[in-house]
Assembly symmetry: C2
Homo-oligomer: 132 residues x 2
DNA sequence: ATAAAAATAGTAATGATTCCTATTTTTTAG
DNA sequence: CTAAAAAATAGGAATCATTACTATTTTTAT
C-alpha cells in the first residue's frame, strides 16, 4: 500500500549498483555512496537495498558467505563464488530450469523456484596459484 | 593436526542429529540435547556442529533463512524449503550433476561444485491453504 | 503554501555465531 | 595406576550483519 516517494539516496544506491558487476555487499555500497553523500546512513542503505529487492528492481544474493550481496541485473542468471578470494562472478550458461521438473517429480508440494550457485577457483586465483 | 579427543557432548549432538530428518538449527539441537545434559552450553553445540561439519560427519545447510541447519545425512541430495512454514525437506530426485558441465562451458576458472535448493509450498501448507 | 505521508540520520537493539578463559575431561606414557 | 599434556567444556563476553526506533527532514498532493 505505502506509496513510494522519491528519494535521492535511493537513486544514488541504485545508480551505484548499476555501475558494478561484482555484486557488492551493503557495506561496500555504503562506503561508495558516501563519497557523494557523506551524510547517508548505513540504515538507509540497508532499508533501500531491501526495498529495491522487494519490488524487484535489484536482486539479493545469498552465496553462503554470511553477507548479502546485491545485483542490479535482475535477469535470470547464475553466479560463481571463488573459494579462494570470495569474489562473486556472473556465469554465462544455458538455462537449467529443467531441474525444477526433476525436483518436483516425486514431491507432493509445489516447487516455485530454485536457488543455485557454483563454487571453485576463479581464473585469476588459479593463475596466482601456479606462480607460487 | 590437533588430535581429536572423545567427548560425550559431541556424541550426544551427533546421536541427536541422526534421529532427525528435519535439519534442525543449532538452537534446536541445543534445546534437545539439554534434556539429557542440562549443563551443556550453546557454545559447545556450535563448536561441535562446526567441527563435525568440517570433518564431513554432518552437513551444514544454508537455505537463505539466516540460520544454519544441520543434517546427519551427508550423502548427496537436495532440499526443499517451504516459503510458508520454513520447513526444510529432503527431495528424492535424480542427479543434476550435469549442471556443472553446463556452468563450466564458458568459464575460465575451475568449478568444483554447486549449491542448490528449491522453494515453494510444501504439501502440508498447500492442504491448509485449501481449507481457509 | 501547507499538511499528510514517507524517508532519513543517527543510534540502539537484535540475533546468530564466535571468542575467551578458568576448569574439567580425556589420553598418553612412565 | 598415576601424572602430565592436550583437548574440550561451561559460561559469559564479544562480534558482526542487519533491523528497529525516533525525532527531524523531504516529498508530494491538495
Amino acid at each position: 500500500m505505502a506509496a513510494l516517494k522519491y528519494s535521492r539516496q535511493r537513486e544514488m544506491i541504485k545508480d551505484f549498483l548499476m555501475t558494478r558487476k561484482d555484486h557488492p555487499t551493503a557495506d561496500i555500497v555504503y562506503m561508495n555512496v558516501r563519497k557523494q553523500n557523506p551524510n547517508i546512513s548505513l540504515g538507509t542503505v540497508y532499508r533501500n537495498l531491501t526495498l529495491l529487492a522487494d519490488i524487484g528492481e535489484i536482486a539479493r544474493l545469498r552465496v553462503g558467505d554470511g553477507v548479502d550481496h546485491f545485483d542490479a541485473d535482475t535477469s535470470p542468471h547464475y553466479h560463481f563464488v571463488c573459494t579462494e578470494c570470495g569474489s562473486v562472478i556472473d556465469l554465462e550458461m544455458d538455462s537449467i530450469e529443467g531441474i525444477l521438473e526433476i525436483a518436483g517429480a516425486h514431491f507432493d508440494g509445489h516447487i516455485a523456484g530454485h536457488v543455485t550457485h557454483f563454487y571453485g577457483i576463479c581464473g585469476n586465483c588459479a593463475k596466482l596459484k601456479q606462480l607460487s
